[in-house]
Each structure stands twice: as C-alpha cells, then as structure tokens.
Amino acid sequence: MRTLSVALVFALGLCAQTSRYGVGRVPGAEEIRGLGPTVAPDGTGLPEGSATAVEGRELFAQKCAKCHGEKAEGDVGPALVGGQGTLATPKPRKTVGSFWPHAPVVWDYVHRAMPFNQPGVLSHREVYAVVAYVLFLNGIIGEKDVMDAKSLGKVRMPNRDGFVPDPRPDVKSK
C-alpha cells in the first residue's frame, strides 16, 4: 500500500505541472498565515511568544478554572492533571499529564479550541502561559521554565510512546 501510494503521489506530482481545470487562485503567504498557525507534534509551526507557568497561573484562574477546576482537577470540563500510572488500570484517567503525547499539540488545541465558550480569545503569549501552567501542574516542567516555539517542542511528555498503530482485525469470532 505504501509503495502504491508513493507511486501515485509521484505520478500526481508530475501531472500537476499544468492546471487541468484552471480553478482557484494561488494564495499569498500572508493570506495563508491569516488562517492561523498549524502545529506539528515536534513544534514546527509554533508562533512567536513565550511565557512561564507563573504567568499562566492567574490566566488559568480567569479563563480555564471555571470548567476545569481551580487546580485543573476537572469539573464541567475534563481533568487536565493527574492520572499518571493509571492507563493500564481498570480506571484509567486520561489527562494532559497522563495521556497527551506531544506538548506542542497542547498549545495547538488550546489555541484553536479553548476556552470552550470563547475560542480564539487568548493571545499566542497567553496560550504559552496557560500551557506552561498545565504542564507545571503535572510536574512536567518547572514553574519558571520559559515555554516558546523552541522549548515547547523539547518537552518530553510522560506518555510520548503510549500510542501504537491499528492492528485490526484483532477479534476472533466464534
């Protein structure tokens, strides 16, 4: 399948030298940037800005605690802390600290989707701040560690290697 798709991709690359339907227009770099950042798991695509958990503490209380609890323990919204060591137990608790494999993706998700009732309201720096605070609450970084486009990609999440490919079909029918 992989060989086939690589071959197909290559073929498409070749035949796309000319436009067939002549639809659409080529966007400028600024226009693409205007769609907002896209963030790869290694942090590629993270924008400028930096903050520490110290700066995130008050912002979290203002913007996040109402749903996630004062200490991110969960309320209307899910718990963001704890759960490490529970994934292989009968009561797994999946949180940023116990389950999420990549720190830059936490930035991406907070930026695109949080706060739930006002996504987009946080500045890039503010997103770094609340992400730093949540990572700090999980014991993953220090309170004064500066999170930015470079350092966030270097954070090692506890469940970094916790994901495996799809092995199905995996069920034996009687």
């Binding site: 690359g13 209307v76 389950f99 695109r112 739930f116 994901f163 799809d166």
Partner: protein, 375 residues
Amino acid sequence: MGRAEEARTLGKPLSGYTERSVYVKAERATRQSKTPEAGSSATPLADMMGIITPSALHYERHHAGVPTIDPEQHRLTVHGMVERPLVLTMAEIQRMPSVSRIAFLECGGNSGGEWGALTGPTAQRACGLASCSEWTGVPLRLVLEECGLKPGAAWLIAEGADACRMQRSVPVEAALGEALLAYGQNGEPLRPSQGFPLRLLTPGWEGNLQVKWLRRLLVTDQPYMTRDETSKYSDLMPDGKARIFTLMMEAKSVVTFPSGGQRLPGRGLYELTGLAWSGQGLIERVEVTLDGGRSWQAAVLQEPRLPKAFTRFRLAWQWDGKPAVIASRAVDETGYVQPGKEELIAARGLNSGYHFNGIKLWKVAADGSVANADA
C-alpha cells in the same frame, strides 16, 4: 336520493417547503448537557425505512456548535507540500466533475456505552450515531491533482471552520481513493449540522475524520497527532497503550424491529428487520438468531447492496408468544464476521471506549415487550 355526506374540508394549499405529517414524531435523541454545543444526537434507527437516513435525522456530533456559514464567503485553502497552493470558492469546487454515492457515516464513539454493563435500551441509544446518505461532491483526488502533491506528501491536515477549528490528520491514500469534498446530501445542499457548505467524506472511516465546514487542507509528510486523534478517538488497551488512527469502521448490524422499547401486540407473523454496514465494503450476508445465539439463519438482504452503505435485512418471523432473545450478525465481503461483545472485550479490554461493533441482543418477553438483553 341518498342522504348528503358530511361536507369535507379542503386540505392545505401548495407550499414552498414540505413538513412531515404531524403524526410522524421520530426525533434524534440527545442527552442533557451543560454544553449542548458539544455532544451528539442519535438517529432513531428503529423508525427508519430502507437505507437512506432523512437529512433532518442524520446523527450529529459537534464539538463547538453548528456554525452559520455563507457559501459565498466560504473558501477552501489547500497548502503545504503542494506545487501550487490554491484557494477555492464553492462555485469553483462545484465547477469540477462531481460524483454521487451512497455511504454510511458512523461516529467512532457510536455504541460506546455498549462496552459497559448497562447497554443502550433502544436501537437509537445503542447504535444511533450512524446514518446513511447519498453524498455529492468532487473527488478530493482531482483537487489534489490540481495542486500537485510534492514527493513525500503523505498526510492531509483537515481543518473545519467551526469555533474549535476541528482538526484531523487524513492519510493521503484515503484522499487518492474514495474521498470526496462533499457539498450535497440526499438531493440538496448539506445540512448545516452536516458541514454546510463543504465537508470531507471518507467512506467507511470514522465520522470524526470527515471534517465538516472544511476550510483548510494542509499537506504534510506526517500526521499532526491532533487532540482528536490522540486524546480522543484512540483506543486504550489493557496494557495502557492506545491504538491510534483506528479509522476504518468494522462490520456491524442491529435488529431495528423488534428492538428495545417496542412491543409486539401478540403472537403471529412479523417481519424482523434491521441494518448492517461495513467500512470494508459490501455486506455479504446477515444472520439472525431467535434463540440467544444457539442457532443462526440467513436474513434476506434488500438490493441494491452498496459498498460502505447501510444494507437493509429482513426475516419473516412467526412469534409463538414465548420469550425470545434475538440478534443479528453481519459478515462483509472480506469474510469479517461481526463479533460478540465478549469477544471484543477479550481482545481489547474494557477501557477502549471507541469502535464498538459487537452483536446487539434484544429480549422479547412473553407480553411482547422488547428490551436490551441486560435490562
């Protein structure tokens, strides 16, 4: 001369848009929530006829509400590892060659409650995050050809225009195969709750991947491990590892009559019926048990059978008035057999949450009432 009949009143006049009969009440089922913009509503499967789900009853799963989008203003931007990034208007997308096909759509979390001890009391509650429509759109392959994929392009990062900018990583193989940029559903534009004006459609794969209100496709060499493919929609195994990109929806079926919440008025002949589907292609056969799984017999499959679409099955059933435990199991064209709940749990444990496709048992009591077998 006969006696004059009672005068009849005229019916309603012509109208621009038809509502259903006031006597037809079937609705999607929702749950009470403090955040009704994020959640799901389930199709009333037992009220459905044939294989097409009315668009107004197609299941919903939203993460930040249903946006109101002016199609004149909507744009799809394709960029990243392409020779020529493109911004497309809806009019331009609709200028390209289109195809229509019937396909089911099922939430990766459909039947999530069935993993536990207390299962869904109705077909709607147990399996209703699945629906089937005729979809119309442009093969995504054509748009990617227009952009020209660069060597090494392997994933598309699809992004919606909903408030949470839903984002999923889609393998390019899917895009080069059957994927559509869909703008039509059951003969009309997509309903807003299904992504108006544009959604991704990857037949046979979990619903969440098929990003609604599609505004961006970023072409990359890697998946972006987004929140909704790592923290959510992954399957946690007993060893603490989570399976990721479990995209294909395996074969599944459910008896919709008789099913939980219904009542048979008395002994006699009934038409047992239900729905089967498989993300791997055609439904090859459906077997029905009337004795709790001791014996199985083949149901009649309604034509046309279509790959990755609902298939309607039927079986004439003479009910003798005695308690019965009934269920269906689907077999698809790959030979895959829909498993029992115990077999699923034996393979995956109790923490995986998503992608439950086990056999659903209903028990018919002597009084004709029908309930989930564990009720």
